[in-house]
């Protein structure tokens, strides 16, 4: 075997596997998560059904599409809401980032692998959750082409989500504490990502702005592709916009990391 240490992926695969195994030990949490998700699907169906009884099909989004949208959004949140960047804060707080930096690895890539292993476990929960969901609600299944584009868009959104979180957590290099910032970003992203309310419901120019923000690239774009609000003709533009945000945040993450590694003052000796 030719030794290519620079491009050796093995350590990162191992980091992901270890994170997966570590997360799997918290069994109660995992089961509770599925339970709470099913409950939320049930509640959302009740809320949207009641709302639609007053106001039929706003923005050409009929009730069955809306329920599909809400259910898929909840299933996506199983993966996207896992804080895969928690490790950055922990390693900074207790100073163990020093030992990470003394290893021949890319530290950001290490954080990503750990986060990925972490979310992979939760991704496995999508299947049982989906089965339970199907007992409660009917979900539209789009064409295979639409489904493929949805998954592609979801994947891009996953990376955007990671990079947004990474950039935010890297601020801890200077402040050592990001809790307030996290809460604020969380509130904004809950509202503006389209996870709860489809962003097409936001009227006028504000709606256009909201759809152009990076938060929309995380939930809204894949979801609108899934339910067909973004027609096949709009796919390329939608994906292009996501990739644009991906590039912007990748650059931001790289810049903040470079600055941080020059600025390192590790807490606690």
């Amino acid at each position: 075997m030719i030794a290519l240490p620079r491009y050796n992926l093995e350590p990162y695969v191992e980091f992901a596997k270890k994170a997966f195994a570590r997360e799997a030990t918290y069994r109660m949490e995992v089961f509770t998560e599925v339970g709470s998700l099913v409950l939320r699907i049930y509640l959302l169906r009740a809320v949207w059904t009641a709302l639609y009884a007053q106001n039929a099909a706003p923005m050409n989004l009929p009730l069955h599409s809306m329920i599909t949208y809400a259910t898929i959004a909840l299933l996506m949140s199983l993966i996207l809401e896992v804080d895969g960047t928690r490790l950055i804060r922990e390693r900074l707080r207790d100073g163990s980032i020093a030992t990470d930096l003394m290893k021949p690895i890319s530290v950001p890539f290490y954080f990503f692998s750990d986060g990925f292993g972490n979310t992979a476990l939760h991704a496995a929960l999508v299947i049982p959750s989906l089965l339970f969901a199907l007992l409660l609600v009917h979900i539209d299944v789009p064409s295979p082409a639409t489904l493929a584009v949805f998954f592609l868009s979801f994947a891009i959104g996953y990376f955007v989500n990671f990079l947004v979180n990474f950039t935010m957590n890297a601020v801890a290099f200077w402040t050592l504490e990001t809790f307030a910032l996290q809460i604020i970003v969380r509130w904004i992203s809950d509202l503006l990502s389209g996870q709860i309310i489809p962003l097409v419901f936001v009227p006028g120019n504000i709606g256009r702005i909201v759809l152009a923000l990076p938060f929309a690239a995380i939930y809204s774009t894949p979801l609108l592709i899934y339910v067909g609000v973004i027609p096949p003709g709009g796919w390329l533009a939608a994906l292009g916009f996501q990739v644009l945000w991906l590039v912007v945040f990748a650059a931001a993450a790289a810049a903040i990391w470079r600055a941080a590694s020059r600025h390192i003052v590790i807490q606690g000796g």
């Binding site: 030794a3 240490p5 050796n8 093995e10 350590p11 695969v13 191992e14 980091f15 270890k18 570590r22 030990t25 100073g95 163990s96 020093a98 030992t99 930096l101 003394m102 290893k103 021949p104 690895i105 890319s106 020059r262 390192i264 003052v265 590790i266 000796g269």
Partner: protein, 332 residues
């Protein structure tokens, strides 16, 4: 060619100046007054491959700061630094392959995993060939007696077990240099001895260069021939331990055990420092008095059952150097 070389190495930490009190805290929020703290100031050091060097200094002397610059995680303010031909902070990842690090107060093992899985992970990180990994791990397990806790999660290990694990972890990729920062802190005598034996062995058998930072000078006395002393960020001595001992260790202690308790024993040419009636300790200057003459004198004076002479400990010598400063012409 030396494996570690620093020239006029300097590190200054800059922090926002804080005013005291609640009003001061408010002021701190808006003012941008900085305070500079010099941690390392002009250190010149050159270490040959295979050396085992004690890097000694009181708290806050700049030891850890130096080690961090050598590992590449801290960027020097000025000066040059080279480790195995690389500038550590410019080539952090390549440098990491050449070095091993053990911190007594911080573990590099993965907390939630069984010890052996941390080793597995390190094998992947450094890309150690499997057969070499197996052979080395087996050797370390035997040498450090780790077989009984190899499958225990790290968080359940005792401090002594964890330290042994950390040593193996730092040595698995067969680094050329190993930095040890307080490796025996908090350990009992048996564990300390096991760790010292391991350090001596890897230095001897593998030729690993060892830089040992410690407060426990018994570690240094037992292991090192050369010490580098620093204080307030500057180098104050670099050289042989023996030389420093003969230079500063002019005082010896004569310990005498009497057949019957003696109220206030005295001895011409020596000074009584301690007595409990049965044993007495006399301090004398070995340049002025000969030990055999003193023993003859005390034996003639009292009925004694035992005598011994204590060499000065490195610790008391170094304490003296910190108080008085190092003086190359010191004799008294």
């Amino acid at each position: 060619m030396p494996i570690v070389r620093t020239r006029e190495l300097r590190k200054v930490f800059r922090s926002v100046k804080r005013a005291p009190g609640a009003l001061g805290a408010l002021k701190t929020l808006f003012s941008r007054e900085y305070e500079d703290k010099v941690a390392v100031s002009g250190i010149e050091m050159s270490i040959e491959a295979g050396e085992l060097v004690g890097y000694i200094g009181p708290n806050g002397a700049g030891k850890s700061t130096t080690i961090k610059m050598l590992t590449g995680i801290l960027v020097p303010t000025s000066g040059r630094i080279e480790v195995a031909g690389l500038v550590p902070y410019e080539r952090r990842r390549e440098n990491a392959r050449n070095i091993g690090v053990v911190f007594g107060q911080r573990s590099q093992l993965y907390w939630d995993l069984p010890l052996v899985e941390s080793f597995e992970l390190l094998r992947a990180i450094y890309g150690i060939p499997r057969d070499r990994y197996k052979a080395d791990l087996a050797a370390f397990v035997e040498l450090l007696q780790m077989d009984e806790f190899l499958n225990t999660p790290v968080r359940q290990l005792s401090l002594g077990q964890r330290m042994r694990g950390d040593f193996a972890a730092a040595m698995l990729h067969d680094p050329r240099i190993i930095y040890l920062d307080e490796p025996t802190i908090g350990l009992d005598v048996v564990a300390k001895e096991a760790i010292r034996l391991f350090i001596a062995k890897i230095n001897e058998e593998r030729g690993t260069t060892v830089i040992l930072t410690t407060h426990d000078l018994a570690d240094v006395e037992r292991l090192c021939r050369r010490i580098v002393l620093i204080d307030k960020g500057t180098l104050i001595y670099d050289g042989d331990i023996e030389r420093i001992k003969t230079q500063y260790g002019t005082f010896r202690t004569l310990v005498v055990t009497f057949a019957r308790p003696i109220e206030r024993p005295s001895l011409e040419g020596a000074h009584l420092t301690e007595t409990d009636g049965k044993t007495a300790r006399f301090r004398f200057d070995r340049h002025r008095e000969r030990a055999d003459v003193l023993i003859g004198r005390v034996a003639a004076q009292y009925e004694i059952t035992d005598v011994s002479i204590e060499e000065p400990e490195l610790e008391s010598i170094i304490r003296r150097i910190y108080v008085e400063g190092y003086d190359t012409g010191a004799t008294a």
